[in-house]
């Protein structure tokens, strides 16, 4: 084995293996339609909340929660961002799903806090304003945060 290639050539080959691994790791994430759906759903709930009908707000929140509960388990693993490949679960890791769940909970807190702040400031549509802000955070920050937080190491 030792005589076949030099250590330098072996290092170059290992670098090629690492590049291949990175190419796949870069594909970990959630599909674009998930982020857009989450953002639009968030805005819809904000607008409905500002209509002042408690039943409508509760119903919209329940529907949103049910749809998200149905969709999230199918995409939250981060293994199928596109239809071009399925990333190994060891590479996507459990942190992707945890990030999505904690992220949605955090966005809920952010929305309520934002709406309360907007209302205290005398805004006419505080929930709509807060949900628009959070929807912007989802679309601009969601994919980037996910890429930054999820580990990219493949367990041997």
């Amino acid at each position: 084995m030792e005589g076949r290639i030099t250590p330098l050539e072996a290092r170059a080959a290992l670098d090629a293996v690492e590049r291949g691994h990175r190419r796949v790791a870069d594909e970990v994430g959630l599909p674009n339609w998930y982020w857009w759906g989450l953002a639009l759903g968030w805005i819809a709930i904000g607008v409905i909340a500002d209509l002042g009908n408690t039943w409508a707000t509760s119903a919209a929140t329940l529907v949103f929660g049910a749809v998200h509960a149905y969709v999230a388990p199918r995409v939250a693993s981060g293994r199928h961002r596109t239809r071009m490949l399925s990333v190994k679960s060891e590479l996507a890791g459990p942190r992707t799903a945890a990030f999505v769940i904690l992220g949605v909970a955090g966005l809920g807190v952010l929305t309520v806090g934002g709406a309360l702040a907007a209302a205290a400031d005398g805004a006419h549509d505080p929930a709509t304003i807060a949900s628009l802000f959070v929807a912007t955070v989802i679309l601009l920050g969601g994919p980037r945060l996910l890429a930054a937080l999820v580990p990219r190491e493949l367990a041997e």
């Binding site: 076949r4 030099t6 072996a10 080959a13 691994h21 796949v24 490949l85 190994k88």
Partner: protein, 101 residues
């Protein structure tokens, strides 16, 4: 731990890149490999055929988009050969202590 085994077939640079990508995925679309490795369809097909003949990967057409899409994935033999080859490379560069025969 995987046994170090240098694999001449996998070591060829294009095939090594293909297998490295496949090893990190459950399956990969033909177009993804083609685009990532900047290969022509015929060049990629040739390399995939070589690996398929060795029993290292399988090609399949998903039920949806049957005509247009081809997926490929490593077989257990391919996974084993790739891991053994990486172990062998690591032994050569000194990242692993070689186990005496």
């Amino acid at each position: 731990m995987t046994e170090a085994r240098f694999d001449e077939l996998i070591h060829q640079s294009t095939r090594l890149s293909i297998v490295a990508i496949l090893a990190a995925a459950d399956w990969v679309d033909f177009a993804f490999l083609r685009d990532q490795l900047a290969l022509s369809e015929s060049a990629l097909s040739k390399q995939l055929a070589t690996l398929e003949d060795a029993g290292y990967l399988t090609l399949e057409r998903p039920l949806r988009d049957h005509r247009r899409r081809v997926r490929t994935k490593l077989t257990p033999a391919g996974v084993s050969a790739f891991r053994g080859h990486v172990e062998a490379l690591q032994t050569i560069v000194g990242d692993r202590a070689e186990v005496p025969a």
